[in-house]
């Protein structure tokens, strides 16, 4: 640990204490995030139990390959950001910068896939609400009314995830540039760890969304 180059905040005794506080704080924040998404996972469980057939119907409108590619993109991003912590320890700030930028680009690719999917669903009048239209001929065995619930959940859950992705991408790219132009980049060790944790967490959420919405 490079104690001398870190600037310790007034309330802490040393950088060690500051680092553990930052880590614990972030993990607690992630626990709250689990429960924030949790409300939606509860709703998903209840309605999947009530309308399992409708969920299977609805999921036929999602392309599995695209979901799989999206998962792959996120996992790659996670790897890069985890690697950048190692690189950071070895003071290769240039590589850290490029790792972070690549992560952000992978995230943007992920979002493009997702928004293309939204676009497609909206075109087929599958966005829930007044315009929702469920073609009669496919309605076996449940009518569109409970399929609509599936799409409500789909848009809410992936939408909330996308919001987290946007925040994550801004944080990662912000950090990348801050790091590049900072005079004392070693100060940014805690932010790098914390933002990395956040990125991995958003990743985990998608790992569950993928089987729950695409693989029914």
């Amino acid at each position: 640990m490079n104690r001398t180059s870190s600037i310790v905040a007034m309330q802490f005794d040393d950088s060690e204490q500051q680092h553990s506080a930052a880590l614990l704080g972030m993990w607690i924040f992630l626990a709250t995030e689990v429960l924030f998404f949790g409300g939606l996972f509860v709703a998903y469980t209840v309605y999947r139990y009530e309308y399992s057939d409708a969920f299977a119907e609805g999921s036929e409108h999602l392309a599995i390959w695209s979901g799989a590619v999206m998962t792959g993109l996120l996992l790659m991003g996670s790897l890069l950001i985890a690697l950048s912590e190692n690189v950071f320890e070895r003071d290769h700030m240039h590589r850290v910068f490029w790792n972070l930028i690549s992560t952000a680009v992978l995230g943007i690719l992920f979002l493009s896939f997702e928004f293309y999917e939204y676009h497609d669903l909206i075109k087929h009048q599958l966005f829930p609400g007044a315009a929702f239209h469920w073609p009669e001929k496919q309605s076996t065995p449940l009518s569109g009314r409970s399929v609509e619930i599936y799409f409500v959940l789909f848009f809410c859950m992936t939408g909330l995830h996308a919001l987290h992705m946007i925040i994550g991408i801004s944080l990662v790219s912000g950090l990348a540039f801050y790091l590049r132009y900072s005079k004392n980049p070693r100060r940014l060790k805690n932010p790098l760890t914390v933002i990395g944790l956040y990125w991995h967490f958003v990743d985990i959420i998608w790992i569950f969304l993928f089987p729950l919405f695409y693989l029914i």
Binding site: D53, E136, S139, T140, P141, L142, S143, R145, S146
Partner: protein
């Protein structure tokens, strides 16, 4: 309705007396505990007030005393478990009506109670029931959540949109009692009040007869005709494009999906508002949804009609009969 000042409400149902007994027991235990705590507080404060010269030599109650802690953890726990068991027993029985009940249908909407009797009388914000007989309400809401509450019966049940809930009670004395909506339902929530009129069976019969309206079954039959249902569903013959209606109620229906469903009020409701959901095996998906055409009351009346012809072709048929 006795509107004079009182400390305890009238009780007018069998279950009500049971709950009163439970309430007295709870009151006794609560009073005992509060008094013990209050007396202990006062005695300690007076006796060990800082100006008093008393022996404060630390006794056994100094900092910890494991046995004491365990005792005052276990004893309240046991008392609580007793009350749990008692309360649960009364509650479960309150959810299981006896087999023979007078059935009444309740539709709640902002801000009134619409009540229909099996024999045909309908009333608003008034409920006539016979004394001594178990009465069972099947309730649904047209809009938001309401709650059917008769304090004199110590009974309450929320009334939900798009789902039936039931409530039963057995009045034990005649009289006029309050009916309240207990779940906040908007502007005139507090005006959603009515009266429950408990009559002797004779008076009740007479009251039923005085209404000149059609019975729910008759009205249900009329709805079937006027909405064109009978063009596809013949009450008896099975040679139309829809399943016959006689003997349907209470039967086990095989579905196209391979499931089996018991035809009850909930199923009939679903079959009307969401006909594509559970199709009778061997029939086509032709029927449109009548959700926007039929009110919850009309659906209840159709259900009443179907129930009245449940035995039209002999005993209620099992799955094999289809």
């Amino acid at each position: 309705m006795n509107t004079s000042f009182r400390l305890l409400p009238e009780v007018a149902s069998r279950g009500g007396s049971e709950i009163d007994l439970l309430a007295w027991a709870l009151l006794a235990v609560s009073t005992l505990f509060s008094v013990v705590i209050a007396v202990a507080l006062i005695v300690f404060v007076v006796r060990y007030y800082h100006t008093r010269e008393v022996n404060r030599q630390s006794g056994w109650l100094e900092r910890h005393h494991l046995a004491t802690e365990i005792v005052w953890t276990i004893v309240p726990l046991l008392i609580l478990l007793i009350f749990f068991g008692w309360g649960a027993e009364v509650y479960v029985r309150g959810h299981q009506p006896p087999p023979e009940t007078t059935n009444i249908y309740v539709v709640a909407k902002q801000w009134m109670w619409k009540i229909g009797h099996e024999q045909g009388s309908r009333e608003i914000n008034q409920l006539h029931v016979p004394v001594g007989q178990p009465v069972r309400l099947t309730m649904i809401s047209e809009d938001v959540i309401h709650s059917f509450y008769v304090p004199a019966f110590r009974n309450k049940q929320d009334v939900l949109p798009a789902r039936y809930t039931t409530l039963w009670f057995q009045p034990t004395k005649t009289g006029v009692f309050h009916l309240f909506c207990a779940e906040y339902c908007g502007t005139s929530h507090s005006a959603m009040r009515g009266t429950v009129i408990v009559q002797t069976p004779e008076e009740y019969e007479q009251w039923l007869r005085s209404g000149e309206e059609l019975s729910p079954e008759q009205r249900g039959r009329r709805h079937l005709a006027s909405f064109g249902c009978l063009q596809c569903h013949d009450p008896l013959e099975g040679n139309r494009s829809g399943p016959p209606l006689a003997g349907l109620y209470g039967s086990l229906l095989p579905l196209a999906s391979g499931h089996t469903v018991r035809v009850d009020a909930s199923y009939i409701r679903r079959a009307i508002v969401e006909p594509q959901a559970e199709i009778h095996r061997g029939y086509q998906k032709m029927m449109p949804s009548y959700q926007t055409h039929l009110t919850p009351e009309q659906i209840l009346e159709i259900t009443a009609y179907l129930k009245s012809i449940a035995d039209a072709s002999g005993p209620v048929p099992g799955p094999a009969a289809f």
